[in-house]
């Protein structure tokens, strides 16, 4: 259905205790800081978070973790120089971690958005991360069966939206945004500005409005 143009707080009201929430971003690039702040303020808890990393410093996802709102995180690369909040929660057993190779994480999210129930990938075969998973030899290559990941709400950092809800991104901040928007039952995109419909080139739209439930215009300061 048509995208709504609403506030961060309104959009976040779709997240409830126990929701699975996908957050775009690779490190801080593309992390939807404005929407995550609203999520922190909402006080919802027991969340499952899907994100590439497990927070940087004390803002964004790190703040959400520090607030004890997250029960579990699916990610590929939690440990970073500035992941101290996650590190402490993990070491004290206060958060569950499902570690997923980055490409498999991306493909599981993409599969959900594309209605593909599961797929076979060579990534991870013969490693700890494939233990207990089905393996099948396809054209002589062992491949592990991975399932699509259900997502209740996606919070995504875009660049510009038009008034219909089509979205473009900026440089490497694009990362997980388009696939998370496609996978979620309810997708929220924060953008720096909204332009009239028709101002974005139809050949260059990255996330068509069909994948967007809500747009939050928040004048985020992008990059440089």
């Amino acid at each position: 259905m048509a995208a709504s143009f609403i506030s961060a707080a309104e959009a976040i009201s779709q997240v409830t205790d126990g929701s699975t929430v996908a957050l775009s971003g690779f490190g801080l690039a593309g992390q939807p800081l404005h929407l995550i702040d609203a999520l922190c303020d909402s006080g919802v808890s027991n969340l499952t978070i899907i994100a590439n990393n497990a927070g940087n410093g004390e803002t964004g996802l790190a703040r959400l973790l520090g607030n004890k709102q997250v029960a579990k995180i699916l990610c590929s690369f939690p440990r970073q120089q500035d992941s101290q909040i996650f590190d402490e929660l993990y070491r004290s057993g206060k958060i569950e971690l499902e570690l997923v190779p980055q490409g498999t994480l991306a493909e599981r999210i993409r599969a959900q958005g594309a209605g593909i129930g599961a797929f076979y990938t060579p990534t991870g075969v013969g490693t700890q991360l494939a233990i207990g998973k089905e393996v099948r030899t396809i054209n002589g290559v062992d491949q592990v069966l991975e399932f699509a990941t259900e997502v209740d709400v996606a919070l995504v950092h875009g660049h510009i939206a038009d008034q219909q809800g089509n979205v473009v991104y900026r440089k490497t901040a694009r990362n997980f945004g388009p696939i998370m928007a496609s996978a979620a039952r309810y997708s929220v995109i924060e953008v720096s500005r909204v332009v009239p419909t028709g101002d974005l080139d139809p050949e260059s739209i990255v996330t068509p409005s069909i994948f967007v439930n809500a747009v939050v215009e928040c004048g985020v300061n992008h990059g440089k």
Binding site: A114, Q164, N166
Partner: protein
């Protein structure tokens, strides 16, 4: 009850009226394309064409014709403001992933359980062609079928079990036909409206009485 069966245009108009504002809609080739004639710009309905476009506009005429801008029926169309283009895997991700709110397809047969047969009339001499019908039938959030209720020999196309090859099982939510609008759900069929026939006679003719 209307006193006459509906014309194709009248059926199309009913379908268009039942599509909520803001919906993303895919109209199958053939009969369903008529629906686009009754979609008004202020309805905010956005048309998807599975060959790779959202925001499809009306058929292109005269100078508007661009052979690289066509619909799934290979007819030149136009582009509305807010349109976007994408490749086939992304287009069918929209379909298979349940992002199309409503799909309207034609049919040879629909079963009482909502099975759809619309890609192959069943004649072994036919050249089989499926296109996106199976993806649409199994992927769209809601599936409307638009057809005449009886074939040229008078046999009901809504039948107990399809005899023609299936497109998808239990996928049809509603039939818009010349003689009735029929809802199909897990609980069975429900005749919502009849045109030029009484409900009793209709149920007789489709073998339900």
């Amino acid at each position: 009850m209307a006193s006459e069966p509906l014309t194709k245009s009248e059926i199309a108009k009913l379908v268009a009226n039942d599509i909520p504002s803001g919906s993303y809609v895919n109209l199958g080739i053939g009969l369903p394309t008529l629906v686009s004639n009754f979609i008004t710009p202020d309805s905010d309905i956005i048309l998807h064409t599975e060959n790779g476009m959202l925001g499809m506009g009306p058929e292109a005429l005269g100078d508007e014709i661009d052979l690289e801008l066509i619909n799934a029926g290979k007819i030149p169309v136009t582009e509305l403001l807010g349109a976007s283009y994408f490749h086939q895997a992304d287009s069918f991700a929209m379909i298979r992933g349940g992002h199309i709110d409503i799909c309207v397809l034609g049919a040879f047969q629909v079963s009482l359980a909502g099975d759809l047969a619309n890609w192959h009339a069943g004649d072994p001499n036919d050249i089989p062609s499926v296109g996106g019908a199976m993806d649409l039938a199994s992927g769209a959030a809601k599936m409307f079928v638009m057809m005449t209720l009886f074939d040229k020999s008078g046999k009901s196309k809504l039948i107990k079990e399809c005899t023609a090859p299936l497109t998808a099982v239990k996928c049809v939510n509603r039939i818009y036909s010349d003689m009735a609008i029929i809802e199909i759900s897990a609980g069975g069929i429900e005749v919502l409206e009849v045109f030029g026939i009484s409900e009793g006679e209709l149920l007789d003719r489709i073998g339900m009485n």
